[in-house]
Symmetry: C2
Subunit: 332 residues, 2 copies
């Protein structure tokens, strides 16, 4: 019989099918990467705000403003009512992390040293953007492949600074808070213990991180990278953790590519907000939230049922997904 | 400047772009409808549970069980803990409403009389399925077009009975309740007054329904069909409303097809749960929820940012979308 599982953080229900689809059964558009003229190669972008160079002065990673930003520092917040509704300006920033000068090589193909430069760029920009008190949240994500919405086909990720707490983030904070209020423990720390105990969903266990396919996910082969050290915010990551993460991310993205034959994917860094409304307390937040990375292979389309209900069907069980991901080689 | 708008029910933020994309600028896969052998034409489905016939005994609309259901009445609920997690059986039903014997003609092409038969099938099956006390929610939706996840290419919609309240439904109930607690009024009734007053997002005003493009939506050209009579549940719809709805839905789906050149779309009937946990009260629910239909054109892909944050970018403003939808002819 199929199984209905409850995602413990958001209370989402996921139907896990009795018989798992195998990796090779998933099909997506043949053209994974965008082709044609590349805006990033042609340097058609806004201001350069961060650069990481090699000894000869050649850039290896850089962060630029979007040429056509949705969020920008034009104007001010100007939050106001419009009849019964609420509006504000799209105050914030849209930045592009160009992960490599080479159009054809993703950071994970280049190896951990390049991945570390990318992580450094994320942290540097987070610290910088957070200085503006009008910024409430900094969202870092990568979309790889046409199906994931990548318009460039050039290795890059995105930093979006917004003046509100996004709904999905708020739901996650609320879920973690609810658990903390009841147990007085961090739900992510408890999930980590549980996964370490069960072992059947664990993919990788590094000095500083646990990688596993969570109990109930939206996408088949979705996995989370959770730091063993409890910290609410990504930008508080330590030096040793940063180096370890560059290896873990390199290995896992290589495994994903091999297993599913170069699939489109998105990953998102989930972290505590830069600023939260006064009645919530920083103190509690630092105890009840735990930053992590969620990697979602975009190998299937969401149905109208899923979009409308927030219930999902998982065609490969997390246990099988973990087994496949664990077994596949990450190359050298 | 772009504008950030708050969706009043869920608290979702939507960035509405300054310059709206026109209908003809949206591109989606050329093949809208699935081709090849049709399971529904070949009668490869489960048990027939409802049939609507013409005077000569020929069927016009029928409801069948899915041949390969995810939710079924095998076993029982069996909700239990698994370590720190929760699971239960996928108790429920997956039914397919075959909207026409003719593979190539959608209900809205056949006209209001056929659409009325479809609505009657929805209501008949809802009443029947609700009799099982283990069913908590009945989800009715239609996916049209390959991009919306329609596997048949045959006119049909889906009825899914589930033993839990789906997260998206719970969020909507919670949002409506929060507003009701503060204002002691239904948020949907208030939205309707506001839209009637503003007029710039109204597409159609029929005797029993208001059709409008809401203030902040996920999809461009999304519209809602809201009954003027306050009722929490779709199955309480009156006879006059039912006839009016069959006309409104026919006209609106024809308009949508003409305007966007046969786009894929999904629609979902949002209604109060069949059963809610005891501590919530039916009495309150009937005052604070208001059933309605949400129609989502699936003409763009969700980005990793949207999936991960729950914030959306709307490339055509609801005001412009309403103008286009109002102006386009629905044929005859």
């Amino acid at each position: 019989m199929n199984e209905l599982r409850r995602e413990p953080l958001l209370g989402r229900w996921v139907a896990v099918l009795r018989e798992s689809m195998r990796p090779e059964e998933y099909r997506f558009a043949v053209e994974t990467r965008a082709t044609g003229r590349c805006d990033l190669c042609e340097e058609e972008h806004g201001e350069e705000v961060f650069t990481s160079r090699d000894d000869s002065g050649r850039w290896l990673v850089k962060v630029v403003s979007s040429r056509d930003p949705i969020f920008s520092t034009e104007g001010d917040l100007a939050r106001k009512g419009v009849g019964m509704y609420d509006r504000m300006n799209t105050f914030g920033a849209n930045e592009i992390v160009i992960e490599s000068p080479d159009h054809d090589h993703q950071a994970e193909e280049m190896g951990p040293a390049q991945m570390l430069r990318v992580l450094d760029a994320f942290i540097n920009r987070t610290v910088e953007l957070e200085k503006d008190a009008r910024i409430r949240y900094i969202f870092i994500n990568k979309n790889y492949g046409i199906l994931s919405g990548d318009p460039y086909g050039h290795p890059h990720s995105l930093i979006t600074a917004v003046p509100v707490i996004p709904k999905r983030v708020k739901d996650e904070l609320d879920g973690a808070r609810l658990y903390y209020d009841y147990k007085e423990r961090c739900i992510f720390c408890d999930i980590m213990r549980e996964e370490e105990r069960m072992q059947d969903r664990v993919v990788m266990d590094s000095p500083c991180f646990l990688v596993f396919c969570p109990y109930a996910t939206r996408f088949p082969f979705e996995f989370w990278i959770l730091p063993k050290q409890h910290r609410c915010s990504f930008r508080e990551i330590g030096d040793e953790e940063r180096r370890d993460l560059s290896k873990v991310l390199t290995v896992m993205l290589r495994k994903l590519r091999r297993l599913l034959n170069d699939p489109p994917y998105s990953y998102v860094i989930h972290t505590a907000p830069s600023r939260i409304p006064r009645r919530n307390q920083w103190h509690t937040l630092s105890e009840d939230f735990h930053w992590h990375i969620e990697v979602m292979p975009r190998i299937r389309r969401l149905s109208g049922f899923e979009l409308g209900s927030g219930m999902y069907t998982l065609s490969t069980s997390p246990e099988d997904a973990a087994k496949y991901l664990k077994e596949v080689s990450h190359g050298d």
